[in-house]
Amino acid sequence: MELLYFGDNGWGDELFIATLMTVAVSITAMFIGFIFALIFTPLKLSKFKLFNFIGNFYTTVIRGVPELLVIYLFFFGGSGAIMYVAQIFGYYDYIEINAFITGAFSIGVISGAYSTEVFRGAIQSIDKGQFEASKVLGLNKYIYFFKVIMPQMLRLALPNISNVWQITLKDTSLISVTGLVEIMRQSYIAAGSTREPLFFYSFAAVLYLFLTYISMKFLNRLEKNYSRGF
């Protein structure tokens, strides 16, 4: 157990910070995913074939390709793409992107594809009468979306969004390949320097179990809260 002491003699504090890092990356990635979902869900539901195609292309490609490959794409291609854009604006120095941003962005793109599917399904399963009723009542677009569709959609989407959260949380272990020090990377470092891989990887598994357990409890409560009266 002295391996887990806080301070210089143990890995307790390092692993604690790494756990916070995992949570921070997951939340950021989830948020970025929601932004992507906000862009692509309307495209998927749109009447125009071209928009549909763009939306479907995004969700099909990202959900059909391994997460690791997407991460490698952004890890190796990210700074190149940014530099390419910067050169158009006349900036020629080397730009290095922070590992946190690369990681959160690549996981965000992945979780966005899943969120898009969830939101699309939720909107499609809202009763058609609701759309028609708000049209007949002459509600403006803002009220129509935020006061009529959104609350119903959230209730239907929440159980699946909590699945997406679990997937995102577990996917963040993959960005350890980019060098960001989260649970997996920290365990790798600790296992390497103490030669106790079994202990540290098992401890990492316990940390992940703890995180998934806590978030499941929290999300279940949220679900109950949202589905009051149903």
Binding site: T60, V65, L69, F76, D171, Y201
Partner: protein, 224 residues
């Protein structure tokens, strides 16, 4: 866009696809048996067996696949006792470690799929079988299994695709599967987009093929 690189890397990537497919088929094969075993324990009347099976599936579904591979590949090598047994000849190979981790992982998900399929079987069918005087094994093979297969096909199709994506993690334990080779080519040429298009394309084609096979099977098994 470097078309030449895409053309020259295609044969290498296709070769690596074979490794991916081998890993996938082996882990699905073993995973199906593990899943069936734990699903049966899960619907058994013994409470201890239920808890055992539930904790197995919770453990493997609640932790990332990467942790599981690392525990098996790096962690188990630390136990000196294992090195004296015949198991060591299996566990020192990254290939078999990956297959063990994938099989256990997909087994956990499969057990959940099969459990929910078993639970949807109406009691009347089982009772009918019993009152006809069928043996327990006959009831299981002729009533449970056919209904469960039909019920679980769509979910199992998803699991196949998830597992196909999961095999990419084999590259983290030095195996050169499709993702591993793609990473190697990216890191030597620094042309991530071209390689991503080719490797991603191969994965998408595989997804497409599996999707259609499952769709065909679903049609075949539906008895309308």
């Amino acid at each position: 866009m470097d078309i030449d690189l895409m053309i020259t890397s295609l044969p290498k990537l296709l070769n690596a696809t074979l490794v991916t497919l081998k890993l996938l088929s082996a882990s699905l094969f073993f995973g199906l048996f593990i899943g069936l075993f734990f699903a049966i324990l899960r619907v058994a009347k013994n409470r201890f067996l239920n808890i055992f099976s539930y904790s197995f599936s919770y453990l493997f579904r609640g932790t990332p696949l990467l942790v599981q591979i690392f525990i098996i590949y790096f962690g188990l090598g630390q136990i000196d006792y294992l090195k004296t047994t015949f198991l060591w000849s299996i566990l020192k190979e990254p290939y078999w470690c990956a297959i063990i981790a994938f099989s256990l992982n997909t087994g956990a998900y499969t057990s959940e799929i099969l459990r929910s399929a078993f639970e949807t079987i109406k009691k009347g069918y089982i009772e009918a079988g019993k009152s006809l005087g069928l043996k327990y094994s006959t009831i299981f093979y002729k009533i449970h299994i056919p209904i469960a297969v039909k019920q679980s096909l769509p979910a199992y199709g998803n699991e196949i695709i998830l597992m196909m994506k999961g095999t990419s993690l084999a590259s983290t334990v030095t195996l050169l599967d499709l993702t591993g080779v793609a990473k190697y080519i990216i890191s030597t040429t620094f042309k991530p987009i071209e390689v991503f298009i080719v490797a991603g394309g191969i994965y998408l084609i595989m997804t497409f093929i599996f999707h259609n096979i499952i769709k065909y099977l679903e049609k075949k098994f539906s008895y309308q």
